[in-house]
């Protein structure tokens, strides 16, 4: 019952935010177009790079396109739903967060609901086109497992990035100011996981498995998708993100408990 009510509230929040943005229609469309264009430029960059290449460490052009599109989708969805966490430092500084604390309603719902931004969907079109291109270029054998793997990689990635945004927001409880350190983990990861993580070498692979589990939504399931391994259970690695999310949630809760208002 509680869940249903919360969903209803979230939809209402999203509708109000959308209405607000739609007051400036031209600006909205230009922004969606610009975000689409930026993602499209990155796609062209990959195409140019591969014009003189057949493979990087065993990965073909199609394989890289798959990685690029899935990470773009995950990130775009995460930005769409988790934008509230991204602009959270402002909420704390302006004292808006104190207001949220007074309301008898889930905090996270209020934070992410109040900043739902449809304009973030710009890169989705690029990502979708790239996904189709990537699937056509690399010979995937279609069965239930591959369908599951693609979906799990995208959705798992989305939750991974939402978790990271949440960690970033939790840091604000302690530092107030925005620190750009987390940018390396969010934007950096989006930027650099257009290539399968193992091309970066062992050190990066270790970091991306044990510190922030990027490999769970990219490298391991990708091996199943491209038929590079017989270990079918790698396809279920994205489920591990749930553990990561729980850890992020605990950090967030710890932050909320220790929050001292910053006035103004």
């Amino acid at each position: 019952m509680k869940f249903k009510e919360n969903m209803k509230l979230y939809v209402k929040y999203a509708a109000v935010c959308t209405q607000g943005i739609m007051q400036y229609k031209l600006s909205f469309f230009l922004m969606v177009f610009a975000r689409f264009m930026i993602a499209f430029c990155e796609l062209i960059a990959i195409k140019f790079l591969f014009s003189g290449l057949t493979q990087i460490k065993g990965y073909t052009y199609g394989d890289v396109l798959l990685c690029f599109s899935m990470i773009q989708m995950s990130f775009t969805f995460a930005e769409l739903f988790g934008n509230g966490f991204k602009v959270f430092s402002g909420m704390v500084r302006r004292g808006e967060f104190d207001r949220l604390l007074l309301r008898p309603c889930s905090l996270i719902l209020q934070v992410i609901g109040s900043r739902f931004e449809v304009g973030r969907t710009g890169p989705l079109l690029t990502a979708l086109v790239t996904l189709v291109l990537g699937i056509r270029h690399s010979q995937i054998t279609w069965n239930l497992l591959t369908v599951w793997t693609i979906a799990a990689m995208i959705i798992g990635g989305m939750f991974l990035f939402i978790g990271l945004f949440m960690l970033e927001a939790s840091l604000c409880f302690f530092t107030i100011e925005d620190t750009s350190l987390m940018n390396a983990l969010t934007y950096g990861a989006k930027e650099h996981s257009k290539y399968p993580i193992d091309i970066y070498g062992k050190g990066v692979m270790r970091f991306c498995t044990y510190i922030i589990p990027y490999t769970l939504i990219q490298y391991y399931p990708l091996q199943v998708l491209l038929g590079k391994t017989r270990e079918w259970y790698f396809a279920f690695c994205p489920l591990g993100i749930l553990v990561f999310l729980v850890i992020c949630y605990v950090v967030w809760q710890f932050g909320v408990k220790n929050y001292q208002s910053c006035g103004s």
């Binding site: 400036y24 031209l26 600006s27 909205f28 469309f29 230009l30 922004m31 177009f33 610009a34 975000r35 264009m37 930026i38 430029c41 990155e42 062209i44 960059a45 140019f48 790079l49 014009s51 003189g52 290449l53 057949t54 493979q55 990087i56 460490k57 530092t175 107030i176 100011e177 925005d178 620190t179 750009s180 350190l181 940018n183 390396a184 950096g188 930027e191 650099h192 290539y195 091309i199 970066y200 070498g201 990066v204």
Partner: protein, 267 residues
């Protein structure tokens, strides 16, 4: 005494806050640069001898890009100016007995150069201390270093005059943010921020060389590592001067147009 101590503590804490922020920014940039180096290492291995720009030049290019990114980031334009244009405070600027174009140009250029100077030192320092495979190299010769500095100045001038065009265009619209994003969105890609321009296929590269974007960061960064040398350098410098003058003229013309039809709303 106690109150002075707490003032001290307060200021110290604020200072530390900023230090934390700059350490964080530095770490982010180093990680970013290092990841790019690793990616190009894999690319270089895959391409072998056919690579259009040798690996050490790429590494140097990446570190210069990280160290000086603020000079060439068209997105990070002066937000105060945009605010002035939208909220009408620009009226005060119009009262001053100076040319708006020159004033804003020098203001933008000054802010960028100051910030770049401050940010580049720690990044370059770390880049020279990286493990050998990812280490930034010294310029190939004294002459090429001087040419690097000269073309760097011209290139940042071109970037600033491009930003000026964006400011001037905002006079013609009520909500400049959307236009600004569209105008600046592709510049990073076209000026070699995502992949260095030598990686572009010949056909597209020759088209790109007809635009000012090929004469932004592309020229100085490649001169530094010796990737761009000989007669090519002087040709690039001439084109840089051409584009700097053209873009500035275009900006001034646009400003004259804007000045005629400017409407200050509210206030």
């Amino acid at each position: 005494m106690k109150k002075y101590l707490s003032f001290f503590k307060l200021r110290f804490a604020t200072g530390m806050q900023y230090r934390m922020a700059s350490v964080a920014a530095l770490t982010t940039q180093l990680i970013w640069g290092l990841m790019e180096c690793l990616a190009y290492k894999a690319v270089a291995e895959a391409m072998g001898g056919r690579i259009p720009m040798d690996y050490t030049s790429i590494v140097t290019y990446i570190w210069l890009k990280e160290a000086l990114f603020i000079l060439f980031n068209t997105w990070a334009a002066d937000n105060e100016l945009f605010a002035m244009i939208t909220n009408g405070d620009v009226a005060y600027e119009l009262c001053r007995p100076v040319s708006i174009y020159s004033m804003w140009f020098s203001r933008t250029a000054g802010a960028r150069i100051a910030e770049a100077l401050m940010r580049c030192i720690p990044v370059l320092f770390c880049a020279f201390l990286m493990p050998r495979a990812y280490r930034m190299t010294l310029p190939v010769s004294g002459v090429s270093f001087l040419l690097f500095l000269g073309t760097l100045l011209l290139a940042s001038g071109i970037t600033v005059s491009f930003c000026m065009l964006v400011y001037m265009l905002s006079f013609f619209t009520i909500s400049p943010q959307g236009w600004r994003m569209v105008l600046t969105g592709a510049v990073g890609f076209l000026s070699g921020n995502i992949i260095p321009l030598p990686f572009f296929p010949k056909k597209y590269l020759s088209l790109l060389e007809l635009t000012p974007f090929a004469y932004m960061q592309n020229v100085p960064f490649r001169i530094y590592s010796g990737d761009l040398a000989g007669a090519e350098v002087s040709r690039c410098i001439i084109k840089q001067i051409f584009w700097l003058v053209t873009l500035m003229l275009a900006g001034v013309v646009l400003w004259k147009q804007a000045e005629k039809r400017i409407v200050i709303q509210g206030g």
